[in-house]
């Protein structure tokens, strides 16, 4: 394993030290392992807290700041945070207007955020939780833990965060977050496995001409293993699954995320973006906004995920609203 680390055990705390050193606009609590807006709690503002296992950077810490998250609580690599951490984040940002937990739908994340929510509620903090479950590679059935939360987390955190910044109350922010999640779909393809510092070797062996279709963001294998294909064919597979699951309704426009999984160069993401744009225009789905880059990663995994939010005018307006975080910044 070749990584720029000191020890596998210290990866999270060392990375938090880097965020603290380079982002004075954020407050890093090394003991509780939280990343908080320096100006939190913001009087009168509904707070947003998200978190999950580390290894998906810039998610979530890179989305803390005006117009998006008030705090993030990163767990160990691929391990959801513990309730204490989540609770510390909620306490740090609640101004009495309540806290929205943005939780990616994984058993561990759901349980730990739920435990934290119970205690926070006992303490008198108003908590609502939105579960993000956008990955169409997983069928939501009694046979699974439900769909994984992946790229749509960016849509939910940005759009709900903008509404909260405008002063909406917890219920309104939560309701919109639910709608954004409901309007979003994702699909991911891996060219290589990723290596966690603790494991020290790739999660699975992938022959030089094979790829994993329908992977998540935790290094797990996907739904099927297939032969490598052209960017065009891979875009067809991903968007085919996404549009088959939810086709645009009248008045909706697309916010598109062409997301690198961590080890894929930007030039390849733009090649995928060209194919995605071509397919969407064939389906007469207008692209109102887009992001191309590494936003929801899986350590050093090479691959791409495509996310699509069928946005209404309110969502588009809030997407365009000012945001100032390490990873997402415009309008200010």
């Amino acid at each position: 394993m070749k990584k720029l680390i000191n020890t596998p055990e210290s990866v999270l705390s060392d990375a938090l030290a880097g965020i603290a050193a380079m982002h004075p606009e954020l407050r890093v609590d090394a003991a509780n392992k939280t990343i908080v807006r320096a100006d939190a709690p913001r009087p009168g503002k509904t707070a947003l807290v998200s978190g999950g296992g580390s290894g998906h950077e810039p998610l979530h810490g890179g989305f803390v700041g005006p117009g998006m998250l008030d705090a993030a609580c990163p767990g160990e690599i691929f391990t959801s945070p513990v309730p204490d951490q989540i609770l510390a984040a909620a306490r740090a940002v609640d101004s009495g207007n309540g806290v929205l937990f943005v939780v990616k739908n994984y058993t561990g994340d759901v349980m730990n955020f739920q435990l934290a929510a119970d205690i926070a509620t006992d303490e008198g903090i108003g908590v609502r939780t939105v579960l993000v479950n956008d990955d169409v590679a997983v069928r939501d059935s009694t046979w699974t833990a439900g769909r994984r939360g992946t790229g749509a987390t960016v849509f939910v955190e940005k759009i709900a965060g903008a509404l909260a910044e405008r002063g909406a109350d917890l219920d309104k922010v939560a309701e919109l977050a639910e709608r954004v999640n409901a309007a979003s779909r994702s699909f991911a393809i891996a060219l290589t496995a990723c290596t966690t510092p603790a494991a020290g070797r790739p999660g699975f062996e992938l022959p030089g001409d094979e790829i994993e279709i329908g992977v998540g963001i935790h290094g797990e294998p996907g739904r099927s293993r297939e032969k490598l294909r052209s960017a065009r064919e891979l875009a067809e597979i991903a968007l085919g699954a996404i549009l088959a699951d939810r086709s645009p309704e009248p008045g909706e426009q697309a916010i598109v995320l062409v997301n690198g999984l961590g080890g894929t160069p930007l030039i390849e993401l733009y090649i995928m973006a060209a194919e995605v744009a071509a397919i969407l225009s064939r389906h007469e789905v207008p692209i109102a906004a887009n992001l191309v880059g590494n936003y929801v990663t899986s350590l050093d995994m090479a691959g791409v995920s495509i996310s699509l939010c069928h946005a209404d005018t309110e969502m588009l307006d809030l997407w365009a609203a000012p945001v100032a975080t390490p990873a997402l910044r415009w309008g200010c």
Binding site: E76, F78, T79, V82, G108, R139, A198, A199, E220
Partner: protein, 225 residues
């Protein structure tokens, strides 16, 4: 230490030895810590195959924290040992196994409010643990989770006790059942946890959580032997 007592003296001790006291409870937890450390890589690899390769690291981190926590404490009941263990796991492990094992140890501990408890009391505590895991995780037998090792272990332990088996034999029976339960997950398709994302591809792999549950009961058998 149960072993020592047994060989030192006669019948009186035979009764005494069949109790789980605070020292034995702590010895059990220490034995679990040793076991997860020794099997760290195995648990990582099992989780890598159908999950995210962190189960071994999670439990090692958790039980290291537990040993620290127990170090400062001077528990006055067997339950305190287990509740401290559960609470510490909850606040140090994370992931799915943290809350699940955390609630399991807490539920078991809450029933054991004495300095020493009988195998019957422990059997009831194990049931409470199983119920807590089922309630929090909403898994059923055959979903390919830790429950597939925990439930049969719990039943085997009680059976042994009801049929007048002593603590060592009950613990041994539980360990055997847990191990069989863990192995029984291999052909199953996961329906809970992240292994379920793999669909049929989750078949043919042993569930990491069921495997760590087997280690926990093996440790119990070890300290009662």
């Amino acid at each position: 230490m149960a072993a020592l007592i047994r060989h030192d003296d006669g019948p009186a001790a035979r009764v005494k030895e069949d109790l789980v006291d605070i020292a034995m409870a702590e010895a059990w937890i220490r034995a679990i810590a040793v076991a997860v450390d020794e099997h760290r890589d195995q648990l990582i690899q099992l989780d890598a195959a159908i999950g995210d390769a962190d189960h071994g690291t999670n439990l090692c981190r958790g039980f290291t924290a537990v040993l620290e926590a127990l170090g400062d404490k001077h528990p006055r009941t067997v339950g305190e040992v287990l509740v401290t263990t559960g609470t510490t796991l909850m606040s140090s492990v994370g992931g799915a196994s943290g809350p699940l094992y955390g609630t399991a140890f807490r539920a078991a501990g809450k029933l054991l409010t004495e300095p020493a408890v009988t195998p019957k009391q422990l059997a009831a505590a194990l049931y409470a643990a199983t119920a807590a895991v089922t309630q929090l995780g909403a898994a059923t037998l055959g979903d390919k989770t830790m429950l597939d090792a925990l439930a049969p272990a719990c039943t085997a332990f009680e059976d042994a006790v009801l049929h007048h088996g002593d603590l060592p034999s009950a613990a041994a029976a539980a360990a055997k059942a847990a191990e069989e339960g863990a192995v029984s997950t291999i052909p199953l398709q996961a329906r809970k946890g992240r292994a379920s994302y793999l669909g049929v591809r989750s078949m043919g792999h042993q569930d990491p959580g069921a495997t760590s549950t087997a280690l926990i009961f093996e440790a119990l058998a070890g300290v009662t032997r």
